[in-house]
């Protein structure tokens, strides 16, 4: 299939490379031309704008930072699109923003999927991402071979926006999960108990989770290198809290967690992994 890829950051680069490995013809565009180099070296074609990409492909994928970036590249896609084009955004943005962008593209005759991912850089490189998709069944069917080159757990959740709702739900669970593990560790230490033993014991019971296992291990090692940066988790929790505000939905745990991440970003820890919330907890109780 002829596939276009817009946005070649840490995630986008790995995902586009996997599309090439899967035998697809990939045309790329990125705001910074130098970030296109590794893809061109692997056999990708270059284009000068999102509109130019859209004119050459059957499927176009964006992987950028935030809703305004998605809206901007998709305006270009709408200008360059030919009949039957499917556009897919795999960035994490607000469900309402995804629905708006989908409606704008529909007006230009382009079918749109919101398809955010979970699994981080490791998952992007290993092609083991979880992909949660909102949009029409026909568009999903057309994009599915591309998704299968990039991820493993691919779920068509529902209508436009449903993918982003799912991703937001994912960030609620992971955000509170990281904070829960960090609080359990702070609790153990303040009681004079060895955290690593606590982790080991808990992994055998109902508190066992990927977060306790992987993030917990990195907390023990005090390895705060991202991974997933705090400011990005803060951004995602802000999407959750904005949406809850608009809906009149009470999310007390998410709200408390979002304030912890807010404090991390304000305290200059935004570039560290979100597990650095452990250090914030330790500071707050004088454990540092």
């Amino acid at each position: 299939m002829k596939i276009g890829f817009l946005g070649l950051g840490i995630m986008g680069r790995a995902m586009a490379l996997n599309l090439i490995k899967g035998g697809h013809t990939v045309t790329v565009w990125a705001r910074r031309a130098e970030s296109m180099q590794p893809l061109l070296a692997a056999g990708a074609l270059a284009a000068a704008s999102p509109a130019e990409v859209a004119g050459q492909v059957e499927l176009v994928i964006s992987m950028v930072a935030d809703a305004p970036d998605v809206a901007e590249v998709m305006r270009g896609v709408a200008q360059g699109a030919t009949a039957g084009l499917v556009a897919v955004d795999m960035s994490t943005i607000a469900p309402a923003a995804a629905r708006r962008i989908g409606a704008d593209l529909a007006a230009a005759g382009v079918d749109f999927l919101d398809a955010p991912v979970s699994g981080g850089e490791v998952g992007a490189i290993a092609a083991t991402l979880s992909i949660m998709v909102g949009g029409s069944a026909a568009a999903f069917a057309q994009a599915k071979p591309a998704f299968e080159c990039m991820g493993k757990n691919i779920v068509h959740v529902g209508e436009s926006g449903a993918g982003q709702v799912t991703k937001a739900a994912n960030q609620i669970v992971t955000g509170m999960g990281v904070l829960a593990v960090a609080e359990a560790f702070a609790f153990a230490s303040k009681n004079g108990v060895d955290r690593s033993k606590v982790r080991e014991a808990l992994l055998g019971g109902f508190a066992a989770s990927k977060i306790l296992e992987n993030h917990g291990q990195r907390m023990l090692e005090r390895n705060f290198t991202p991974g997933f940066k705090s400011w990005m988790h803060e951004k995602d929790l802000n999407i959750v809290m904005q949406t809850a505000h608009e809906l009149g939905l009470c999310l007390p745990g998410s709200a408390a967690t979002a304030q912890m991440f807010n404090a991390m970003v304000g305290g200059g820890q935004g570039e560290e992994d979100s597990i650095a919330v452990l250090k914030l907890l330790e500071r707050l109780s004088g454990q540092a």
Binding site: G248, L249, C250, L251, P252, A255, A256, A263
Partner: protein, 288 residues
């Protein structure tokens, strides 16, 4: 400023209407514009067709509307005040909006030499009727002194906080303290009722001690009487809390209690009590 001066007024709601009347009764010549002309009623005022026309007629213009977008529309939109007001004239915005929005509107108006003061209010509908409002002002101190005689017709405590936006920051602080206090009173009365103790007695006793406050007095009484008809519509506090948390996020300041109270307000909205009084936070607790 001398009596007989032409003063414009936009926003004739619960707050704006009594304020406009005070200015007219003090001897200023009143001009009004309203989106819904029927809201003007029997106010002794000259009716203008657009904000621009009102701006052409008046030396000083007051706005008391709901949201940042409302102020932007009236001030900067099509046929907005900016089209009619001449250099040296003053716009006093008494709405509660985001500090950043106030700064941006001030900057746009200053390009034409129009002065802007952000002058949000505290004291509610009763304070507006009694002309006992607290007014917190951001902007040029010299401009404030020019319009102070007008503000003296509306309120008793008029404080210059700092440059543009500072008035809105002060108002945000006011809302945080006030609504958190409403939540505290609601929780105390909920505990009392659930313990089989008479709420009215508890409120009466507390009003003489360290927990005494205006919120306990006014909102506490509403809760005891179960009179949830608005004073201040809770949806406005809900809106304000969205602004506060967004501003805190911009600068990376954690506000854990404000975030928790915001979730109770979300629940209140979700239950459909947005047009009732904020003392409805008691009903949120009762529904748990």
């Amino acid at each position: 400023m001398k009596l007989g001066l032409k003063v414009g007024f936009i926003g004739l709601g619960v707050m704006g209407r009594p304020m406009a009347l005070h200015l007219a009764q003090a001897g200023y010549e009143l001009f009004v514009w309203a989106r819904r002309p029927e809201s003007i009623g029997d106010l002794p005022a000259t009716i203008c067709a657009t904000p621009a026309e009102l701006g052409r007629c008046c030396e000083v213009v007051f706005t008391v509307v709901t949201s940042s977008a409302d102020v932007e529309n009236v001030a900067l939109g099509q046929a907005g005040l900016i089209e009619g007001m001449a250099a040296g004239k003053v716009l006093v915005d008494c709405s509660t909006i985001a500090p950043e929005a106030a700064r941006q509107i001030a900057a746009k108006l200053s390009e034409k030499g129009i002065h802007f003061l952000d002058a949000p209010l505290s004291g509610g509908g009763q304070g507006a009727i009694d002309a006992t409002l607290a007014i917190m002002v951001g902007g040029d101190a010299v401009v404030l002194e020019r319009v102070r005689p007008l503000l003296n017709c509306l309120g008793q405590r008029i404080v210059h906080i700092g440059p543009n936006g500072a008035g809105q920051v002060a108002k945000a602080c006011n809302q945080m303290i006030m609504v958190a206090a409403i939540q505290a009173v609601a929780e105390a009365l909920r505990l009392a009722a659930a313990s089989g103790v008479e709420c009215g007695k508890v409120r009466q006793a507390l009003a003489g001690g360290s927990a005494a406050s205006r919120v306990l007095e006014v909102m506490g009484e509403r809760m005891v009487k179960r009179d949830f008809s608005a004073g201040i519509e809770a949806r406005l506090h809900h809106k304000d809390f969205g602004l506060v948390l967004a501003a805190a996020r911009e600068i990376g300041v954690p506000l854990p209690l404000t975030a928790a109270v915001a979730q109770q307000l979300n629940a209140l909205m979700g239950q459909g009590w947005g047009r009732d009084d904020t003392s409805s936070l008691l009903r949120v607790l009762e529904s748990a």
